[in-house]
């Protein structure tokens, strides 16, 4: 346990500069897009006024008021980039130990005790990064909403409450269950990705690729098959359906971790 | 110390000791380094040092009692024997070399005397 905590600390120590700068850059860019949208909207109105020789209120009526929902419409794309970066980090956190300037993987695999701690230390690092990423996004949205309201002239603003686009609403609900679902989904993705990486690091080249393809096919079959059976049989209540889905999901989650630990113990190659 | 890799290292160590006993660089009853020390000093494996000491004990060159450092033997006869043994060995080698080029004994003896004396003289001068 102590070693696991120390390793997690070590992992974060190795990446925190990169993580912090990426998260800050993303937050900065997000806020800048909101500011940019407000300024652009105002200029549009001004330009229309001088071009069409109309009053300000007429111009606003034509151009339409700007809502926060519109002003923050780029957020989803930036968040998508963030998700891609997190996935990249999940890959990098393993491969750097093999391909980096030193072969740290030797040291990790030779540490006394169970190798599971290596897996869980990397997994925890990812979990912490994901959670802080989600948390910070929420802060950025609140912050940019405040900035939006403060910057924009009252006449220009479409009066919506914290009006988020639909995708963002799903992502940034404060509903605890929803947050948990998002985090779990993210962790599942990470764990699945970890398993694929460890398959490659264990079997390499053709054999490794083959196993990766098989695992990907397996998960697609499980998901599609599960849904197909549920739909065709049509005997389950919706609550039962979600229970079954959750059970399948949890089982598969456990499988990916079990498989990864086995690979680390028996099959991994430096 | 340089080693001949074709003959056992432990015997070379024994011989190194014998040379020092013959020239009385190591005197009768003198304490010698421990096995561990001699290994580090000569740059050999501690096992080899152990084997060399065992060999020297068997040849009664050194005596080892429990809990005290090994010592060169007090037995003057053995020291004498080491000297003759080394002389025999050197002479045998020399004769072999000389016979190989077929030089008669008389010439060899005269040569040996002059060279031996001149090198001795040079040693004194130096």
């Amino acid at each position: 346990m102590k070693q696991y905590l120390m390793l997690t600390n070590e992992e974060l120590k190795r990446s925190w500069k990169m993580i912090i700068s990426i998260i800050l850059a993303m937050a900065g860019i997000e806020i800048l897009t909101v500011v940019g949208r407000v300024i652009y909207h105002e200029r549009q109105v001004q330009e229309y006024m001088s071009y069409a020789k109309v009053s300000e209120s007429d111009a606003i009526r034509t151009i339409e008021k700007l809502s926060f929902e519109q002003a923050s419409s780029y957020f989803s794309y930036i968040i998508l980039i963030g998700v891609a970066l997190v996935l990249l980090y999940a890959v990098q956190i393993w491969y750097r130990d093999w391909l980096g300037e030193s072969k740290y993987i030797y040291r990790l695999l030779l540490l006394p005790g169970n190798r599971a701690k290596i897996f869980f230390a990397k997994f925890t690092s990812l979990a912490l990064v994901i959670i802080s990423f989600i948390g910070l996004q929420w802060v950025v949205i609140q912050l940019s909403f405040v900035i939006f309201n403060w910057m924009i002239k009252d006449d220009y603003r479409a009066t919506s409450t914290l009006g988020l686009s639909r995708t963002l609403k799903q992502l940034y609900t404060m509903n605890l269950v929803d947050v948990l679902v998002i985090v779990t989904l993210a962790l599942f993705t990470v764990s699945f990705l970890f398993m694929l990486i460890l398959l490659e690091r264990s079997y390499r080249k053709t054999k490794g690729l083959l196993f990766i393809v098989l695992e990907v096919i397996a998960i697609v079959v499980i998901m599609m098959g599960g849904m197909y059976i549920i739909e065709t049989l049509d005997i389950f209540l919706s609550q039962e359906i979600s229970a079954i889905m959750i059970a399948i999901f949890v089982l598969y989650f456990i499988y990916t971790i079990w498989k990864s630990l086995r690979l680390l113990k028996w099959k991994i190659s430096v | 110390m340089q080693f001949d890799q074709r003959s056992p290292v432990y015997l070379q160590v024994v011989r190194w000791f014998k040379e020092q006993i013959a020239t009385e660089e190591l005197k009768c009853g003198q304490e010698i380094p421990s096995r561990r020390e001699i290994a580090a000093q000569l740059g050999i494996n501690p096992n080899t040092a152990q084997k060399a000491y065992k060999e020297m004990e068997e040849q009664n060159l050194i005596t080892t009692e429990r809990n005290v450092p090994s010592k060169i033997t007090m037995d003057q006869e053995i020291v004498k024997k080491v000297r003759t043994e080394m002389l025999d060995e050197a002479v045998a080698q020399f004769i072999e070399a000389v016979q190989a080029i077929q030089i008669p004994l008389g010439e060899v003896v005269t040569k040996v005397e002059t060279v031996y004396q001149s090198t001795e003289r040079r040693k004194v001068d130096a």
Binding site: M6, S102, K103, Y104, V270 | G43, I44, P46, N47
Partner: protein, 226 residues
């Protein structure tokens, strides 16, 4: 005794690199695993440490299947690049219950290594010395060294060789791989020759000299040039 039984290993569809390798390393002795480049010497060490999976074979340490009694010094840097030597020593102290800081400190002094030096900025010779510190400062009865003298200048070699004649050897069975043996021949107790994935010959070095009048080098010539 460290016993290796019937190690078999094949990479991909190529010819197997190990075709049933068996040998043992006695405690308190230095065994040298000799083979030309690419004969699988490193693979054997990695297999013993569980760093590569094998197709068959077992490794027993004093009769048990456990790696806790073996320390391994590979021929490359294993500490993360951002660390200084001091960081690395603390790391070892944190993770290894059998880490011996006293030995580490002594060897650091002997090898004139500085704790403030960045690991990645060390010269090849100092890297090798530092790796040896990491290996010898673990209080473990067996130590595996992969090519400890590769690419190192003569004087560094002599410094490193010294350690094998010192008291740091006490209570240790050492297995080292090498493809050039000249400067260290007299240090070795036993040689094991590896060729085409098999052990083709093994000898006690002193016996080889005494009975056959041959150096390890001589025997290498006979084995690999026939």
């Amino acid at each position: 005794m460290l016993e290796v039984h019937g190690l078999k290993k094949r990479y991909g569809r190529k010819k197997p690199i190990l075709e049933g390798v068996s040998f043992s390393v006695r405690p308190d002795s230095i065994t040298c695993l000799i083979g030309l480049n690419g004969e699988g010497k490193s693979t054997i060490l990695k297999a013993i440490m569980g760093l590569v999976p094998v197709d068959a074979g077992t490794v027993l340490v004093d009769g048990e299947v456990s790696r806790d009694k073996i320390a391994f010094v590979p021929d490359l840097q294993t500490m993360p690049g951002y660390m200084t030597i001091g960081d690395a020593l603390l790391y070892m102290n944190d993770y290894y219950p059998d880490w011996n800081p006293k030995v580490a400190e002594e060897l650091m002094g002997l090898f004139k290594l500085l704790t403030t030096d960045k690991i990645l900025e060390l010269s090849k010779g100092n890297q090798a010395k530092f790796s040896l510190v990491l290996g010898f400062a673990l209080d473990r009865p067996y130590l595996l060294l992969d090519e400890p003298f590769a690419g190192i200048d003569l004087f560094t070699k002599e410094q490193i060789a010294w350690i094998f004649s010192s008291h740091y050897m006490e209570g240790r069975g050492i297995l080292m791989t090498t493809h050039e043996i000249i400067e260290i021949e007299h240090l070795i107790d036993r040689v094991v020759f590896l060729q085409d994935g098999r052990i083709i010959d093994e000898h006690d070095t002193e016996e080889m000299r005494e009975v056959y009048g041959k150096s390890v080098q001589d025997r290498m010539r006979e084995v690999y040039q026939r």
